[in-house]
Structures are given as C-alpha cells and as structure tokens.
C-alpha cells in the first residue's frame, strides 16, 4: 500500500529531497504501523514524537491504511530567552 508522509522541524533531514509543500509517497506492506513507516525512513522513534494520521493524533503502533496522510512532529524547543546559548 501507499501512504503519504511529511516530517517536520528536526525530522526534515530524513526526507532531504522533499520539496516544500509536497507529501512524500511511501510504499509499505499491508497493515504496516506508523513506527514501521518511520523505521523505513530511518527516523529514530526513541524520541518523543507526535504523530497525526489524517490530522488526528495517534500512537506509534497505529495501523495505517492505503492513502493515509501522516504528519510527524518532534518536540521543538526554540522561541525565547536562551536561544543563543
């Protein structure tokens, strides 16, 4: 099956060729889960990730379906007082 995927912030480096605004099309086996999709791209899942499938928050063991759109967000620290430390 195929899903579409976007990685955000610090995870962008795992899809270096993706053009801005594009979804990465990924081929997976039937009944593949989110963490299997991330493993296929080499994204480490030991960090805390927020995963959204079709814009709804899900867990890493969520089973994907054909055509799902998956967005993965890492924690982002930046914004304020210690930005130059």
């Amino acid at each position: 099956m195929f899903i579409e995927l976007r990685l955000y912030a610090t995870l962008r480096r795992y899809l270096p060729d993706r053009k801005a605004g594009e979804w990465h099309r990924l081929s997976l086996g039937e009944r593949a889960t989110v963490d299997e999709a991330l493993a296929a791209l080499g994204v480490p899942t030991r960090q805390e990730l927020q995963v959204f499938v079709n814009d709804q928050a899900v867990e890493l063991d969520h089973e994907l379906r054909e055509g799902d759109r998956v967005g993965v967000f890492p924690q982002v620290g930046g914004g304020g007082p210690d930005a130059d430390r």
Partner: protein, 289 residues
C-alpha cells in the same frame, strides 16, 4: 491634599486603571471598541487582564508589543538573560543600544513606552520549581515563549496545577507550532509526555531560525491570549497549529486530553512542581543555569 482628590486617588490607584475610559483611551482603543466582539466591555476586560509571558526573546517580542498595544493591563515578563547582538535578528522588542541589558527590563520598558496604561512587571530571573506557582498565581493567562524543555514542562505543570490557560508556542528553523492548553482540554504532556534526550533537539543557535518566524508564531499566540481574555471566538484548545514557513502552509491537528497524563490525567502523579532539570536529564551545569 483635599479630601476629594484623596478619595479619587484611593479609588484609582496608579497600578489599576480606572473603570471608565478617558479621551486618550477612547482614541487609543477606538479600533477595538468599534468591533462588536469587543466594545467598551471587552476593552475593559483587556485592561483588567493579567498576562505572564515566559521568555522575552523571539516569541516574547511580538507578544509584549501586541499585548501592550492592545491594552492588556498587567504584563509580567520573565527572562533571566541579557540582550545579545545575535538576538536582534528576530527579537524585535530589543534595540542595538540594549545589548547587555536585562531582556525582562528592556521588554517591560518597551511595553510602558508603547502604552502607559500597561503595568509591566519584569522578572529578571529564572522561573523555578520554587517560585513558579507564586508568580503564575497572580496572572489570568500564561504564555510559554521559552525555548528550553525544563521551563516548558515547569510552566505546563504549574498552569495545570493552578488551573490557568497556557498559550504554547515553539519555533525551529522554518517550522512553528502553537496551541492553547486550556484546563481540562489537554496539556503539553498530553502531546509530549517525556522530554527529549539531552542534545537531541538543537537550539536555535545550533539549528538557526528565520527571523520573521517567531513573529508569525508569537503573533498568533498574542491573538489567542486576547481571545481568552475577551472570552470570544474559538481558541486553539485541543488543536495544534503547525506552520511550515518554507511552503507557507498551516496544518491543524486535533488532540485530546490523555486520561493517563501524569499532570492533567484522571489520576495525576505530579501534584506539585518537580525537579525539571533532572526530569529533562540536565544538570544545572549543563544548562548554564
């Protein structure tokens, strides 16, 4: 001092704005007052509002300026850093001549200069487990404009414990995130239960940040604060708004409160602020604090 003026002074102490609008205020806030959603009553809510901004950097800059301009009556600004030259590419509340000065003081001064109705309270210190509840208790709304994880978890936990709405924002390179953690509708820990391993998430200094990005995200945070104070519209509670600055795209993602959340869940295990440096795997020396 005669009795009449003494009474008037008592009725309107300098740190508390009068209940009525003087002519300057009518002009200053006229573009708010003509909005049916705001009017005089809404503007009074803003003038009576007390907002704590944690961080006077990239996100804090537009927050301070827009909330002061809007007439939010009391602004607390927490930041223990001093202005550095490398801040000025994005931290627009500070000026070149401010390099070396305390960011909290500079930001508070900017707020007062922009709008004398605003009582700006600088806290040129770190928010800690020892002082957070005491500081936050005095405010209606809290804004997370920090950029380190111990502070993010501390502010989150303190707001949950005190039942205060928290307006969250974060930026990295070209990406930004915003949400509102409203009491009972999920918190930062519901999204990110555990902090990242030390060094796993680069800071802005390591990863860079496009200067206008914190302007976008901080301004959305300011919008959310104003809506909360006004009680108007729908806030981002239960929604994470993600901004991709490279493609200029917003995505809105839904989340719900985690009943197993250690802070806002059904059976919370965190009932007072903890040691957030230790929680994040950081020693005091490692973070320079």
């Amino acid at each position: 001092m005669d009795k009449k003026s003494s009474t008037r002074q008592q009725a309107t102490p300098p740190e508390r704005p009068a209940r009525t609008f003087d002519e300057d205020q009518m002009q200053r806030y006229s573009r708010h007052i003509v909005l049916p959603e705001i009017g005089g009553i809404g503007q009074r809510s803003l003038l009576d509002g007390k907002v704590l901004i944690v961080g006077a950097g990239g996100l804090g800059s537009p927050l301070v300026l827009y909330l002061a301009a809007a007439g939010v009556g009391r602004l607390g600004i927490v930041d223990s850093d001093v202005v550095e030259l490398s801040n000025l590419q994005r931290q627009v509340v500070h000026r070149t001549a401010d390099v070396g000065r305390a960011k909290a003081e500079v930001a508070a001064e900017a707020a007062r200069l922009l709008n004398p109705d605003v009582v700006a309270m600088p806290y040129a210190e770190r928010l800690t487990s020892a002082n957070a509840l005491g500081v936050i208790a005095g405010y209606d709304v809290v804004v997370d404009a920090s950029d380190n994880f111990p502070t993010r978890y501390l502010v989150n936990d303190a707001c949950v414990l005190l039942g205060k709405p928290l307006v969250y924002g974060a930026v990295y390179r070209f990406d930004g995130q915003v949400s509102v953690f409203a009491p009972g509708q999920g918190c930062y820990r519901c999204l990110f239960p555990r902090p990242p391993e030390p060094g796993m998430i680069p800071s802005c200094a390591e990863g860079g940040v496009l200067g206008a990005l914190p302007g976008v995200i901080g301004t959305i945070q300011a919008m959310e604060v104003l809506k909360i104070l006004l009680g108007k519209g729908q806030t981002l509670a239960g929604r994470l708004l993600a901004f991709d600055g490279l493609s200029t795209e917003f995505r809105e993602l839904s989340y719900v409160r985690d009943p197993d959340c250690p802070v806002c869940g059904d059976r919370p295990s965190v009932t007072e602020p903890i040691d957030y440096e230790a929680f994040c795997g950081l020693g005091a020396a490692a973070t320079g604090r």
